[in-house]
């Protein structure tokens, strides 16, 4: 699934693809994609704040490393699913959500 998206380094946004709510983050030159719904409280991580490579959930403060999906801060305990992202240039990235 391809999506036209242009993020500056350190920016993030939520997109809906195949009915899935996905968080896309650009760290440096690399895009990362993971489930947008927090594994803990189901709030949307795209409304949270990025700190280094950690996204902080705006509801309870759980955090996740966006480069790996690993949970890095309580009260969240479970990791987020991640998705492969390919940067196709010209502001277009493709995501595999299957």
């Amino acid at each position: 699934m391809r999506v036209k998206l242009k993020l500056e380094p350190g920016e993030h946004t939520g997109v809906t693809l195949d009915g899935k709510d996905i968080l896309v983050v650009r760290i440096g030159e690399t895009y990362h994609a993971l489930d947008n719904k927090c594994s803990h409280g189901k709030a949307r991580l795209s409304e949270g704040r990025l700190r280094g490579t950690n996204i902080i959930c705006p509801r309870h403060g759980g955090s996740f490393d966006v480069t790996t999906g690993k949970c890095t801060g309580r009260p969240a305990l479970l990791d987020q699913n991640t998705y492969p992202v390919k940067d196709e240039g010209d502001g277009v990235i493709s995501l595999e959500t299957a």
Binding site: G41, G48, R51, G52, P58, H60, G61, G73, P75
Partner: protein, 463 residues
């Protein structure tokens, strides 16, 4: 032997004083660095029980910690609306959050429902609203109870009166302080000479580049006392060589504030013969050059005739800092640029305002264990002109047996911090095995330790 007839506390290390040395600098020091304030404060031993007794620690938690201004975080921990961080002291936990008006609020970090801790100890983060993870009681950034799920079941709850409990919170110079006592004096009054002195010292915007939280095997007072005096330098850091003694000045300004200052790059007061300025520059370059952006091993500057290593080194540092950060540092005095100037605010806040040595310390009991504490170490740098300060970094946590050398960003100071903290376990053991009942202090060089205990005692006596 020393002259026992002189009035106690009046003796000083032979050789030129700190004040005499800095008045020779080519960029003169501000008045704040020329003031001297020392009064002999007794020479009784300090009871070891002050460090080891659980009862004493409990008394501190009951009577001292709830009454004092404590440095909780820096403004750069909370740059935007909704940013929060948690400051913990003993069993107390404070939630600091920036509201939509840009002010910093401090709250007891517990839900008004069934007291669940709202944000984890030691954590920093961001919220739109403060939502308890247990049942979802939700507070706005000013602490008001904004959402009470199933409010039909709580007809007895006065929602307007169920906001988070506020704690006094005031900011000085970017440092956010909290005080649990609603009747406490304003922070500016508590800080005594500090605001006035800092107006005379470098005033550029700063950001935190490094935060280490080190777990130490000693009482919080014993740990910070290793940083309150320079008497230890010769043995702890230099293998007992007398030529490493420092020209130092110790001041006690009031109930809460004390200071030491020592030269960087000047000869040891007792050096005989006095080394040449070029030899001093070589030492300075070997030990201190890492503070100068772009300094190379082989670039030892030449000290022109009739100039001093201190002034030449300071001028280079100020020039490189000006080029690197885009602020004009040319008027900063030699002493303020390069010397080790350390202010202390009771009970546990240390701040070095210099250009090169711009660091802060904080020491807190580890929960309520009198034999352990947490040592927070912060490095600052000027915020480059043209942008806002970076958000403060997350702490790097080091355990009891970890070394500061494990963190490359600590740089050449890592060995010194390891040496400073390396005596603490032995001292803690010694408190319990000593044939004496208390610590003996030097009248001048260890006056700040005596002052710490005297102020602590005043709080414990409810004075």
């Amino acid at each position: 032997m020393a002259n026992k007839q002189a009035s106690p506390g009046s003796a000083r290390m032979p050789g030129p004083s700190y004040r005499e040395l800095i008045t020779r600098d080519n960029t003169p020091p501000p008045g704040a660095l020329l003031t001297e304030q020392y009064t002999f404060a007794g020479d009784n031993d300090i009871a070891f029980a002050n460090y080891t007794s659980q009862d004493y620690a409990e008394l501190e938690f009951a009577r001292m910690w709830p009454k004092v201004w404590q440095w909780a975080c820096h403004e750069t921990h909370l740059p935007e609306t909704g940013d929060y961080c948690v400051y913990d002291i003993g069993n107390a936990s404070v939630l600091l959050v920036r509201n939509s008006a840009g002010a910093v609020n401090a709250f007891v970090n517990a839900c008004m429902h069934r007291a669940t801790q709202l944000k984890a100890s030691g954590s920093c983060g961001f919220v739109n609203a403060i939502t308890c993870p247990f049942h979802g009681w939700t507070y706005d950034l000013d602490g008001n109870l904004a959402e009470l799920p199933h409010d039909w079941d709580f007809p007895h709850v006065d929602q307007a009166g169920s906001g988070l409990r506020r704690i006094r919170c005031e900011i000085w110079n970017g440092f956010v302080f909290v005080n649990f006592d609603p009747q406490a004096v304003p922070l500016e009054d508590y800080l005594e000479v500090l605001p006035d002195h800092f107006e005379q010292l470098p005033q550029h915007p700063r950001e935190i580049t490094l935060h280490i939280e080190k777990h130490l095997p000693a009482n919080w007072k014993a740990s910070q006392e290793a940083f309150l005096e320079l008497y230890h330098v010769r043995e702890t850091h230099a293998g007992g060589h007398p030529e490493t003694d420092l020209a130092a000045q110790y001041d006690v300004f009031g109930k809460h504030v004390s200071r030491f200052m020592h030269t960087i790059g000047a000869p040891c007061p007792m050096a005989n013969p006095v080394p040449s300025e070029q030899v001093l520059m070589k030492r300075l370059w070997r030990e201190e050059k890492n503070w100068i952006p772009g300094a190379e091993e082989d670039d030892v500057p030449t000290v022109p005739e009739n100039e001093t290593a201190r002034d030449v080194y300071s001028a280079l540092l100020k020039r490189r800092f000006s080029e690197t950060y885009g602020h004009d540092f040319s008027n900063v005095s030699t002493a303020a640029a390069i010397d080790s100037i350390q202010y202390f605010v009771f009970p546990n806040f240390f701040l070095f305002p210099g250009l090169s040595l711009n660091i802060a310390y904080r020491f807190r009991p580890k929960l309520n264990n009198p034999d352990q504490c947490l040592f927070d170490l912060f490095y600052f740098q000027p915020t480059p002109a043209g942008r806002s300060p970076n958000q403060a970094p997350e702490p790097i946590r080091l355990g009891l047996d970890d070394s500061f050398t494990q963190v490359p960003e600590v740089g050449h100071m890592a060995r010194i911090f390891d040496e400073d903290t390396g005596n603490l376990r032995a001292q803690t053991n010694g408190f319990k095995i000593s044939a004496k009942t208390g610590a003996t202090l030097g009248n001048y060089q260890e006056i700040r330790i005596r002052h710490l205990h005297q102020t602590n005692t005043r709080y414990l006596s409810n004075e």
